[in-house]
């Protein structure tokens, strides 16, 4: 029997861009009109028989800690707000720092695409950001119309799974060479390399 797998997805972005609406559409197929700012919500969704996605819908209190357990990140902005796009840069840096990985799976999401008349971020602009970020995929979504919602999550899951497989193959070797770079320590108490996740 194959092992059951769980992937941790973290949804991030400025306040009010529609992170919760996107997540709720994906997980529960519902549209939420009212605005109920998030403190911290978590959901699970069965993607395949033995793959579950755990989605963590966060909001950032200033620069509070990002969860270290996230394996993939949805970076959401609203196409109606340029500053919401600009804020993603700092978030991405933090993610890379925390995951210690330039190629951490992520997807850039321009939400509220139904509000075309209020568009403040051109597609070209968003694409250029995506290019600068190692060609991270860019999607425009509408949580309201449920447009492209599954696509962004599925894309992210694919990236995570791909990474998981390569990592499993290369894992041993990587870990070995990494450890050798470190200064030699005697009597060091090794702790589990596995990241702990308090939130989920």
């Amino acid at each position: 029997m194959r092992q059951r797998r769980e992937y941790h997805i973290v949804v991030l972005g400025a306040g009010g861009v529609g992170k919760s609406c996107l997540t709720a559409q994906f997980v529960q197929n519902v549209w939420i009109e009212s605005y109920d700012p998030t403190i911290e919500d978590s959901y699970r969704k069965q993607i395949e028989v033995d793959v579950r996605a755990i989605c963590l819908d966060l909001t950032l209190q200033e620069q509070s800690n990002l969860p270290r357990c996230g394996q993939g990140f949805l970076l959401v902005f609203s196409i109606t707000s340029l500053s919401s796009l600009n804020e993603l840069a700092e978030l991405r840096e933090q993610i890379i720092r925390i995951r210690d990985d330039e190629n951490v799976p992520l997807v850039i999401v321009g939400n509220k695409s139904d509000l075309e008349e209020d568009r403040a971020v051109t597609r070209a602009r968003a694409f250029s950001v995506s290019q600068h970020w190692g060609n991270a995929p860019y999607y425009e979504t509408s949580a309201r119309r449920r447009a492209n919602v599954d696509e962004v999550f599925v894309d992210l899951c694919r990236q995570i799974i791909r990474k998981d497989i390569t990592a499993a193959q290369a894992g041993e070797q990587e870990a070995y060479s990494r450890r050798r770079e470190r200064p030699i320590r005697h009597g060091r108490r090794r702790r589990r390399e596995k990241q702990r996740c308090n939130i989920l």
């Binding site: 009010g16 700012p37 699970r44 707000s81 720092r97 210690d100 470190r182 320590r185 308090n198």
Partner: protein
Amino acid sequence: MSSVDGRSARQSKRYSVTALYLSMSANERDMEIEDDLAKAQKTLRDLKTKISAQSKKNFVLEKDVRYLDSRIALLIQNRMALEEQNEVANHLDDAADVQEGSFPNDEKTQRYGNLLFLLQSEPRHIAHLCRLVTMAEIDSLLQTVMFTIYGNQYESREEHLLLTMFQSVLTWQFDNTPEYSSLLRANTPVSRMMTTYTRRGPGQSYLKVVLAERINSLIELKDLDLEINPLKVYERMIAQIEEDTGSLPATLPKGVTAEQAAENEQVQAIIEPRLTMLVEIANSFLTTIIDNLEETPYGIRWICKQIRSLSRRKYPDAQDQVICTLIGGFFFLRFINPAIVTPRSYMLVDGTPAEYPRRTLTLIAKMLQNLANKPSYAKEPYMAKLQPFIHQNKERANRFLNDLCEVQDFYETLELDNYVALSKKDLELSITLNEVYATHSLLEKHSAELAKDENSHLNVLLQELGPAPAQLPRKENKAISLPLFSKWETAIDDLTAALDITQEEVFFMEAKSTFVQIMRSLPSNSVVMRRPLRLEKVADAAATLRNDAVMVRKGIRAMELLSQLQELKVIDRADSFSLLRDEVEQELVHLGSLKEKVIDETKKLDEVYRTIRDHNGYLVGQLETYKSYLHNVRSQSEGKQRKQQKHQVLGPYKFTHQQLEKEGVIQKSNVPDNRRANIYFNFTSPLPGTFVISLHYKGRNRGLLELDLKLDDLLEMQKENQEDLDLEYVQFNVPKVLALLNKRFARKKGW
């Protein structure tokens, strides 16, 4: 704010003016009064200055620590390029205290003094700037604005000017945001401003006084699991069963859906009592918050009031509920909840809460927020079980949010504060060169928008100053004390006109304050103290006092004022100057109760000051640890290892079990009570960054246990919030161990 109690506007103005007059004259040496009230007031003033200064220091330190927090992991894993190590090191060098200094020349001092005076006294410029800068620039701008330009957090003039700036930004935001839902939520300048504002002294004291106790008592219950998400409850439940019995019955499969978990009767039975407890806890939080309405800082309440009146203006048809949501969007979302969810960053608790209490606090925050907002249970259906809490409390919460808005405006006092400020010669701002230069360059960058009008004062000043200097390296940055004054000397006479105060009123204020001062200085058993007061007698008593030139002068001045006011027909000798007399008497009553209030406030603030000083100690310690570590790593990678090894061994330092237990280093001990007295520990540092801790039993030569520790291991554990360091017999607390090592083994550079 001074109370008005239904008197005419004209009188009320006089009333508040007198209070100001008192505070103004308190600065003038020869007018100084030395009664108990004055002494108590002075203590309070000093305390407030200290809190203001300290909270700024902490704000800056926190930024440094956060910066390092984010980089230290890479460093520990040895994955930081040398270049970046140097950058980090530069960032840190001399981060501690900025030296005193001055501008390169007097002309610069004067021009910057003019510029900052303008910025401080006309908040619209900064308000405008806040809307123009990028989100990347706004944080440092806000730091300068909130902790420097308006950094005297307890001084009414600066507080009120800051709030005026808020109002201008808020109004703009309301005018330019199409949907009210995202108004206070999206990361706009306003929302950043609000968050930064809550971190000033008064907001911090409120949280400490009102919430700390509640949160702490919750955190002590480390094992209290109040999870109500059925899926998580189910999983914990079967994990427990599996652990206890070694297997799982077929009725409890793994990997069920949320719905299946919610239907499980055992799960329901676990959740039921937890709901009751959560409601009880949330109720107690809410009650505390409501009961402390009067403790809520004036500025925070005033912002609530602005939100209410701006929303009413913009959405005339909005229901009360919608408006309460907006007020709650500030009060709960930006002010209360962040402190509940992350109490450590608000200095409310010592350590990071354990997993269960952390979750409980998050649930409480959600419940409070659901009170203010219309919750959509579509997201987390299990939260619907807490609906009764919302129904029971909705009304009182909305009433409370409205009550928050019931504060007076300050415009009138502000005008007068400004008036007083202008007449003072010694307005000063303590600021760093880099803050000045950064502000200057932001103004320069946006001058096309800010100083459209060539003849505007701002433009004239910017032209005079020329291009903004670049930021100085940290080492060369200096703290200066900048005298503020207006380039455009406004004669007080003009100002009286502009402020709508007449000469009569100025005399009246002075008379009132002089009489109050006299009364406060005369012995309380003197006959002239009897009510109703007879003002000529009072003046006379002062003017004829022996051996007290100051009082004599005041007495004579009081007589002069009486006759001048009489001539101007403001008061009338025929009715014993009743207009003035009544106000003097009232003022004295007010002052009488003032002393209690002052002493009371001092007590509270003392507590606050102690907390932020402790927090400062913690931050400084943390910074020191990182610094030493960094120095270590760098000198090693520079290949000086051999030289370093010649460093002498430090220690051993001996600590008893009891000592370490008392300091919290030992957080758990398996040593039987009767043996503890015989246990001691030796701490040695053979090399910088390396420690050996050994555990000994009295009378035995060999230690029972020896542990090699690397500083980076400890830092890594701390980073991962792993607080236990296991020594078999005892468990150490990682942050406390770090603090201890820090104290004991601080070498000059590196440990």
